[in-house]
Amino acid sequence: MAVKMIRDVIRDTIDEEMARDDSVIMLGEDIVGGNGSAGGPEAIGGIWGTSGGLWAKYGPDRVIDTPISESAIIGAAAGAALTGKRAIAEIMFADFIGVCMDQIWNQVAKFRYMFGGKSKCPITIRMPYGGGYNAAPQHSQSIHQFVTAMPGLKVVMPSTPADTKGLLAAAIRDDDPVIFLEHKFLYAVKGEVPDGDFILPFGHARQVTQGDDITILATGMMVGMAEKAARTLAQDGIGCDLLDLRTTSPLDEEAILDSVERTGRLLTVDEAPPRCSFATDLSALVAQKAFASLRAPIEMVTPPHSPVPFARELEAAYLPSPEKIMAKAVQIMSYRRG
């Protein structure tokens, strides 16, 4: 076990996968940096520090710095993946998915289905997402709800360094397209990471805290907030069964339903706005399949239905927080059937 930051886990995992399989390539803007400048290549190694040293080790045919062209990045990764490569594409901010949505939604996600199952498209699309930096409406969004709604994609949202390793290695080795969402605020989070080959299969939730009163569902950045809330709530005698879902597609329905059948209460925590979202999808699932177990209305902690605002006060009011999660949990516990 080594203790590492998530940004280093990402780089090291890509390194390990590139070393073990010559067909793995990587594309993105400034993933090398310094090309065409006096300072020379590898000036930056990715603006998030997730690809430093890879160009020097694997060369420009495998670590490909691209012009600012998101459509072509995803299209090129897709074309390479259809023809025998295993591609990792970086979209610098998840918000830029807007620029390459056709390639993701109409191309990558549909190849295998449209081609009668006769093709593989091993592509991992890494996208840093999320708020908290006061980076304003076009650099702060969570986009998992869109990609989770698209048949033909797998969607991963790790919250710990160890999970990042196991899930990223699984994504790269997967023969189907995977959207790998990295919360910008988690890059500097440190934790223990298993050495050597370590793969976490998709669709298995992680139990973060155990309790019999409320099931809390979270992913990515929301897991840490929910965990903080759950530990405080435990001191007040409210037991939270907190599940880190790890992947939004495939979804670990069994773990969710088992938990709600025990607790009878559900709180979903999500960083995207509330309408037609992953939080509402989980609420619908539980309402359909665990209705008889419910002892209180299902609740959600999400931002309001608005873009992510810039000013510090506004963004703080917008984003979920441990305090908001605790307040909702207390509200759920105080519900009495009329």
């Binding site: 000036a43 600012i68 807007g98 304003a136 605002p309 810039f310 506004l314």
Partner: protein
């Protein structure tokens, strides 16, 4: 193209305002006063001002993530801009936009933009309006944005529709940490624009007079119904890509050299004083007036009204 004394002083004042605005932001950001990502425009002032000195509020511009200079040059209120960057609800966009999306549609400034390449298609639309009004639409882009598919689509559509749109490519030689030499496949942005079927020229982005002269001709050409045009401006940025950029891609001494030899404000001062168009003392007076303005902008921004939680859901039509 002969400029009056007033016009020269005005152009200098605009460039100096941009420079001091950006230098002050650089200092304030270092103090931790300002949140978010900020991309400073210092070094490129002759581009924004050389273009916008030709424009009226009824002409349109669209900008980029590096938008402060374009905003100031197009006539956005400097104090309201500063308040926006500080996140005040008295800011030009009520604290919703910050540095990267400042806009004032009322003065024909259709927004800074956080999405590289997003401006060009919008400039085409403003060009449809401009065509019917007898005005022009200007799209500011960088050497990085020129590689985005949206830019290609917009250039072609502007040609097909014969719109009065001018694509201004500010070539500061870098897109973030990557050199133009690597990322732009064509021989130049000018060659590429010409291949789209539009008039395409280059000018010296360090020299206000060269930019001003070239833009005057292009605007006349576009307003005469000849369709779009493009201009590539060779220029330099004096700070990092964003505040906090270690700039490891720069060569040894590169920043010192460009600041010394390729400063558009120094170039302007030398030209107008040597030609005896203006006195150094007149320019010094402008400098101190601008310094006052920036001091006031910062002082007012620091004590301006802060937004509250209720403000989050204004201007989304419907909120839940």
């Amino acid at each position: 193209m002969q400029l009056s004394r007033e016009a020269l002083i005005r152009a200098y004042r605009q460039m100096k305002t941009i420079r001091m605005f950006e230098e002050r932001l650089h200092d304030e950001i270092a103090l931790g006063e300002i949140a978010g990502f900020t991309h400073l425009y210092a070094g490129q002032e002759a581009c924004a001002v050389g273009v916008c000195e030709h424009l009226d509020p009824t002409d349109y511009i669209i900008s980029t993530h590096r938008g402060h200079g374009h905003c100031i040059a197009k006539g956005c209120d400097v104090i309201a801009m500063m308040k926006e960057i500080y996140g005040s609800s008295e800011g030009l966009c009520e604290g919703k936009s910050g540095s990267m999306h400042i806009a004032d549609v009322g003065v024909g400034m259709l927004g800074a933009n956080g999405i590289v390449g997003a401006g060009a298609p919008i400039a085409v639309g403003a060009g449809i309006t401009a065509k019917s009004n007898g005005t022009v639409s200007i799209c500011f882009s960088g050497d990085g944005a020129c590689n985005q598919g949206t830019t290609f689509e917009a250039m072609n559509m502007a040609v097909v529709l014969k719109l009065p749109v001018i694509f201004v490519f500010e070539n500061n030689h870098y897109s973030e940490h990557t050199g133009e030499a690597y990322a732009v496949g064509a021989e130049s942005m000018t060659a590429r624009s010409a291949a789209f079927g539009m008039k395409a020229i280059k000018a010296n982005g360090i020299d206000f007079f060269d930019v001003y002269q070239a833009m005057g001709e292009l605007i006349e050409y576009c307003k005469a119904g000849n369709g779009p045009a493009s201009i590539e401006l060779d220029c330099e940025r004096f700070y990092g890509h964003f505040e906090g950029d270690p700039q490891r891609y720069r060569g040894d001494g590169e920043l010192d050299r460009i600041r010394e030899e390729r400063d558009c404000l120094k170039t302007f001062r030398t030209k107008v004083t040597e030609a005896k168009l203006l006195e150094g003392a007149e320019l010094d007076t402008v400098d101190s007036e601008v310094a006052d303005l920036i001091d006031r902008a910062v002082a007012q921004s620091k004590t301006a009204t802060r937004p509250t939680a209720e403000d989050v859901t204004t201007n989304v039509y419907i909120s839940y």
